[in-house]
Every structure is written in structure tokens, then in C-alpha cells.
């Protein structure tokens, strides 16, 4: 792999040790909340998520010369984050990589469709329920849905990030959303006896 340092723009801000301009660093650092939120969903451990985000920035600043100005910096950082996460998982025997596509094959019959999002939003406990339902999704589906609906990446960007064909990404998003909704609806029904667990 060849790393090339690009010269700073003639009238641009002074670069730091790695040649990062202020603009690059400021924009990169503005995504720390997104990166941390995503890292938490990936690792499920705050301390591991912090390590992952810190490693992402270290790599990003050191390899900033590889970033093509004018392209999506946020997507570039997320790609580094996911690559680092895959390495972390490979090295960590506590966390074998799970891709459980079959789990939701039978989960397409939705329990309750009688509440729209506004009605669900009115519930005081929604955020906690939503977090719990997200956390309960199989990793592959949670990751795809999160990157699309929370972080607003395109299907193509997600496919590159997680090294998965775009058709599979679309399918995972579709199934993940349905499964999420079913879990929320099931939570709503609660102790009334109509709840159907699908996992």
C-alpha cells in the first residue's frame, strides 16, 4: 500500500503533524457522536466503543493523505471504523462474528399494525423500548438499519462499509425494519397475551 502526503493548499490553514488541515480535522471530529453511537451498537461495551472510535481517529489522521477531498468524509471514517471493528472481532475470541440471516426468515408476519409512528412516539418509554428492540436485532440487521435510518448513508456507501453486496444490504434493511417494528408492537401488547416473540 502506498501512502502519499498531499501538499497543503497554498493559502490554506497550517497542517498539523500528519498534514491535516484544520478543515479536515474539524469536520472529522464533528462526527464523533455518530461514530461513538455506531461503535456502541457494534461492540455493546462502552469501553470497547471508546477504543474503537479512538483507533478510528488515529488511523484517519495518520492516513488523511489517502482521503479524496470532495468525497464523503463521514462515510470514509465509518469505513475505517468498520474495518477496525472487523479486526477487533477477529482478534477477540469472546466475540465470534455472527451473521444470522436465517433468524428472521420466518419473521415477516407482523403482529400489530394498528399504531402509527406518532402514536408510538407518544409513549413515555419509547426511547428505552426502541433501544432495547434495536439491541435485540441480529447484528447484521441492526447494523444495516442503523447505518441507513440513523446515520443516513446510501445503500452503496453501506455496502462498501460493511463489505456486503448492495442487494443483501437492501434486503437486510427491509427485514431489519420489519423485525424491529414487530418487536416494538410486541412490547406494546405486553402482558395482554397477544405478544409473539419471533426470536
Amino acid at each position: 500500500m502506498v501512502f502519499r502526503r498531499r501538499p497543503p493548499p497554498p493559502d490554506g490553514p497550517a497542517p498539523d503533524a500528519a498534514g491535516n488541515s484544520d478543515g479536515f480535522a474539524q469536520e472529522a471530529l464533528s462526527y464523533v457522536d455518530s461514530l461513538y453511537g455506531t461503535a456502541l451498537r457494534l461492540t455493546r461495551r462502552p469501553a470497547d466503543a471508546e477504543d474503537l472510535v479512538q483507533e478510528t481517529y488515529l488511523k484517519a489522521f495518520r492516513a488523511s493523505g489517502q482521503f479524496e477531498r470532495g468525497t464523503n468524509l463521514k462515510a470514509w471514517l465509518f469505513t475505517i471504523l468498520h474495518n477496525s471493528f472487523r479486526n477487533m472481532r477477529r482478534h477477540d475470541v469472546r466475540n465470534p462474528v455472527e451473521v444470522n440471516s436465517e433468524t428472521v426468515d420466518g419473521a415477516v408476519d407482523v403482529v400489530a399494525l394498528d399504531q402509527n409512528p406518532e402514536q408510538l412516539l407518544s409513549r413515555a418509554t419509547l426511547d428505552a423500548d426502541l433501544q432495547a428492540a434495536l439491541d435485540a436485532l441480529p447484528d447484521a440487521f441492526r447494523q444495516a438499519v442503523w447505518l441507513r435510518d440513523v446515520e443516513e448513508f446510501s445503500y452503496a456507501e453501506i455496502a462498501r462499509m460493511i463489505e456486503t453486496p448492495i442487494g443483501t444490504v437492501m434486503s437486510r434493511i427491509s427485514r431489519g425494519r420489519r423485525l424491529l417494528y414487530e418487536k416494538l408492537a410486541g412490547t406494546r401488547v405486553g402482558a395482554g397475551g397477544r405478544r409473539r416473540d419471533v426470536l
Binding site: R5, A18, A47, V53, Y57, L58, L113, L134
Partner: protein, 271 residues
């Protein structure tokens, strides 16, 4: 007309209202004839709208300390040919990192002193590029460590007579957080103290290399010179010893005898 399986990939974009016209017509034709897929689209659309409405709350905020540490990494040198600005980092840093990463894959946390020492040497070189912030109160740091990691940690404070200044502590990234890392400045140079909450051979995930594991028999003799193992890795010296079921390591770029003196100070204050 496409069947349910064939239409599935188009549902995500359709539920968002982001389909191209041709795809939209195809999906709508299918939905007219398929109640099951109509239910699926409704559920998917609801979930999508819900997630997007709660985007900010779901994303949350990064801890302030993490924000500062990330910003501090701007100072990291580029991966391109690195000018020799940092005297304690060997020129072969990149090669060392690659080599150590290979060791990590092969041995996990390590089955031998050699492997463990390699991991710590790499972490020592990495961590001083972005030292931890916060206070250096050893009691507070010890309590924070216990709360976060579930085992008590005694930290040797700064000591003028030794020329030792405590900078802070953190989890060691190169061992996936299983080791406590205390960072010091010693005679103007970086010095690390690591504590692993087990013996090296106990933490090994593979068959340990018994020839290379430490001589535990000496470990309880606090001032016995043979209790300390001296290892040189990637240009730094390491003094390793075990006590009370834990493994302690002092790392710096310094002659072995001088580092042993620091090791004895650390041992006196932490055991």
C-alpha cells in the same frame, strides 16, 4: 410479475419513498395482489419513520474525555515516511506494529513472556502519542479502575527522587483492555507500568510456552533480583515480574539496571 422474494430488495427504498419510478410501479403492482407484502411495507415504513424521528436521541453523545482524546490524535504523524522527531520511537515503528499485530493474531493475549512483551511494547509506543487527561490522583484513579473493571488497582504515585511523574492511566488498547496501563514521564522520557490481573500463563488462550513463562517461584521474594525478567522488544526495555497472581511490567527506553530500580520502586508502592 416478480414474486415476494424477488420484490423484497425493492421494499426498503419503496418504504422510504425513494424508489425510482419503474421500481415503484413494479412494487405497487405486486402489493395490489399481495396482502402479506402490503403488511410488510406498512411495518417497514413505520419502523423507518420512527427511527428517523428519534435519530438524535438514539445516536447519543460521545463522552467528553473521548472527544478530547480523539482531538489530541491530530498530532499523530502520517503513515508516510516519518521524520525522526520522536527519539524514543524506533524508526521501524510501522514494521513493529505489523509484526506485533501478527503476534496478536497468533497468540491472543499471549502464551509467553515474549509475546506479551511485544504487545506491551507496541502499546507503549502508541499510547504516548495521545496521553490520557484528567488528574493524576492515585486514589481516584484506583477507584475509577475498580468501578470500571471490577478489580482493585494500586498505582505508584509521582516520586521526585526517582524523577518519576505520573501522567495518567488507561486500559491498554493492544490487549483489548485486559491490562491496566499507567503512563509516566521519567527523566523526560515516556515510561509505562502495566498490570495484568493474572499470570501470563493463566491468561494464555493457547498452550503456554513453559520455557518462556516467568519463574513464579521467585515472585514472592520482593527484593530478589531473579524475580524480575528483563526483555528487550522493538527498541524498548521491559522488566516483568509476577506477584499475588498478577503480572507487572515496567517499559521504557533505558538501560536494564536503571529500569530495575524503577521496577523496585513500583513494586514497593503497589504490592
Amino acid at each position: 410479475m416478480p414474486n415476494c422474494q424477488e420484490i423484497e430488495r425493492a421494499l426498503a427504498a419503496y418504504a422510504e419513498g425513494a424508489s425510482a419510478a419503474a421500481d415503484r410501479h413494479q412494487v405497487e403492482a405486486h402489493l395490489q395482489a399481495c396482502p402479506a407484502c402490503r403488511s410488510r411495507v406498512t411495518a417497514e415504513r413505520n419502523a423507518c419513520e420512527l427511527l428517523r424521528a428519534r435519530r438524535t436521541e438514539l445516536r447519543g453523545c460521545a463522552p467528553e474525555a473521548l472527544r478530547r482524546r480523539c482531538a489530541a490524535q491530530r498530532a499523530a504523524p502520517a503513515l508516510a515516511p516519518v521524520p525522526a522527531r520522536r527519539p524514543w520511537v524506533p524508526l521501524s515503528l510501522a514494521a513493529s506494529l505489523v509484526f506485533a499485530a501478527g503476534l496478536l493474531v497468533m497468540f491472543g493475549l499471549g502464551g509467553s513472556v515474549e509475546t506479551y512483551a511485544a504487545q506491551l511494547a507496541v502499546d507503549h509506543m502508541k499510547c504516548f502519542q495521545f496521553p490520557p487527561d484528567g488528574n493524576a490522583d492515585v486514589t481516584v484513579m484506583g477507584e475509577q479502575w475498580r468501578a470500571a473493571n471490577g478489580w482493585p488497582l494500586r498505582i505508584a504515585p509521582s516520586e521526585k527522587a526517582e524523577g518519576l511523574e505520573l501522567i495518567g492511566s488507561r486500559r491498554c488498547g493492544s490487549t483489548r483492555g485486559r491490562v491496566a496501563h499507567m503512563l509516566y514521564r521519567w527523566r523526560g522520557q515516556p515510561l509505562s507500568v502495566y498490570v495484568l490481573n493474572s499470570r501470563i500463563k493463566d491468561s494464555a488462550e493457547n498452550t503456554p510456552n513453559t520455557d518462556a513463562t516467568l519463574a513464579h517461584d521467585h515472585a514472592d521474594h520482593a527484593d530478589h533480583a531473579e524475580a524480575y525478567e528483563g526483555v528487550r522488544k522493538f527498541g524498548v526495555e521491559e522488566i516483568i515480574w509476577e506477584h499475588g497472581g498478577r503480572t507487572y511490567t515496567v517499559v521504557a527506553q533505558a538501560p536494564d539496571p536503571e529500569l530495575r530500580r524503577v521496577a523496585r520502586y513500583v513494586r514497593r508502592l503497589t504490592h
